[in-house]
């Protein structure tokens, strides 16, 4: 059980590490600490004048954020913005509480604005015959990315809920807490976990 928890909590796609290595081997980063190389400064807006003004994480979010916005703008997401945010949020909650099932969306909706794989947040498991696709977040950093994209798209939308979710994500990455989380999710159904989460959201407003 413990091994599974660790594998679940600490997992990242290859490009996360690649982006770190790109910054790590830059000669102008030789004197910096590894944590500084990974994470410092603000996520830049638009083109980056100097890569050393922020960390590898910020550079990565900048790049993925720009790609996401380009795609979303081409899809006229405005018409479905609320649904988009709700679904993105639900994806995050499902990851946080280790939901047994992925988020399922009809294929027909993908041409519009709900392709969470395209925006770099989730993996997808197609369900051809039923014409559905399942999405799942697999990495903690992807949850942070989702929060960043949500904020970038609409700074007003559910900011506190995202903050709380990220806060819980931070806690969950420490072994002791993640074990608690496992116990919680083992004992409680997802709906109840979501309910608890929502209650906490309301409480902190």
């Amino acid at each position: 059980m413990t091994a599974t928890v660790v594998a679940f909590v600490f997992a990242g796609r290859p490009s996360f590490l690649h982006d770190f290595i790109v910054s790590f081997v830059r000669p102008d980063n030789a004197a910096r600490s590894v944590s500084d190389i990974w994470d410092h400064g603000e996520i830049p807006e638009g083109d980056i004048a100097s890569p050393s003004s922020c960390g590898a994480k910020q550079l990565m979010f900048n790049r993925l954020g720009a790609r996401c916005l380009t795609w979303i703008r081409s899809k006229h997401v405005d018409a479905t913005k609320v649904v988009f945010f709700e679904l993105l949020h639900m994806l995050g909650v499902r990851y946080l509480f280790r939901a047994p099932d992925e988020l399922t969306i009809p294929n027909a909706a993908l041409d519009r604005s709900f392709d969470f794989t395209k925006i770099g947040v989730a993996y997808s498991q197609p369900f051809i015959i039923a014409r559905y696709r399942k999405f799942v977040i697999r990495e903690k950093l992807a949850l942070e990315l989702a929060a960043y994209l949500a904020k970038k798209l609409d700074p007003e939308f559910e900011t506190r809920a995202w903050q709380l979710m990220l806060g819980m994500n931070v806690d969950a990455s420490r072994a002791r807490v993640s074990e608690e989380r496992t116990t919680l999710t083992t004992l409680l159904p997802l709906s109840l976990c979501s309910r608890l989460f929502t209650d906490r959201c309301h409480a902190c407003r």
Binding site: A11, P14, F20, I128, L166
Partner: protein
Amino acid sequence: MCEAALKAANLTNKFSVTQDDVAKVFFRHDTCHSHGSKLPVCRDRGTITEEGWLWIKTAFGEERAVPKLSTKLADELRRWLAGGNSPMLLVVAPSGAGKSFAALQLGTRRYVDLLDAAPNKVSVFRRWKQAIMEEHLASSLLAPSDGASITELHKHARKGMYHTWILLHVLAAMRGQCRTPSDWLFMQRYRTVEVVAGYNAALKWLGRDDAPHYDELKKVRVPRTVLVVDEASHAQANGDRFPCRVLPRARFEPRAGAGAGAGAGAGAGAGAENPSAEETSQPGLLGALLEGVLAHRNTMIVMGTSLSFSQPMLDPTFMYDDRHSHRPPVWFVPVRFFPLLSVNECVQHVTFYAKLLGRNLDEKKLRGVCEQLQGMSP
């Protein structure tokens, strides 16, 4: 035609990647990012590229240490190819999940034809697309031999197949001149201009009087190949939809077992042969490519960050052959086969680079960073 292509591509003799080739592409001394040619550096961006490690043994033999790179997805691709269960595999995952790199890893083990549909760069795919969408091909080459009249959509379908077959023949000829899968991979990745020049020469040849007719070309079996289309969503970008008709179901034949070898090419282009066949949908360029590939029972791996590119091909009327309904012709790589790196793997990887550059790292701090790197804020 293939001779002209080989000449234009400077492939009249057998090709092997040399130490000098690899050193020039990846391990250059003239960039500070390579740290005295210790690290493989991307020629265009000047930043480190893991791709260079794939050729490190060619350049430096066994003496150079290599970081451990996950082969999880590449292994899965190989397993799928060995299984022969379906002619097309979809690999869909978010950016950075390791799709393209897995295709390259696969290409070091077996011959793979790579088509990169990403826009704004010189590529074989771009030239193939241009030939289909913008260039005239004599109607006499496409018209049915029996004089039957065909619709515009049928003409488009035949043009798409025709150009795909030409492309596959040219790639096969070039591939045949490369001694190992890695050599062919290197040629495609780093001598793209030559490969495109070879394909161009073949396209020019189509303007001659002795260019092959569609029906002739159909009978010439394309050598067995695995075609990988990367960045496939760009093959379906806005305005690029190629208006050809989908061929009917009967073209999907088993790839192995009874009947697989018999009558090679007999079913090739069956749908395009039958003007009365139902026109079901418009699959675009990707569909046209797939038609050409499947007609000779070849295999295609399609990669991208969105399933939307394959939507027309997910239409059951396009996908399934009733006679073989137990075998879906399209297969997906399940989520679990994409590599996810653990903190330990991250620590090992960073330590490798630190040692290479002579930097000392506190393992505890490094572990902390690797935990952050996987998503934990400090």
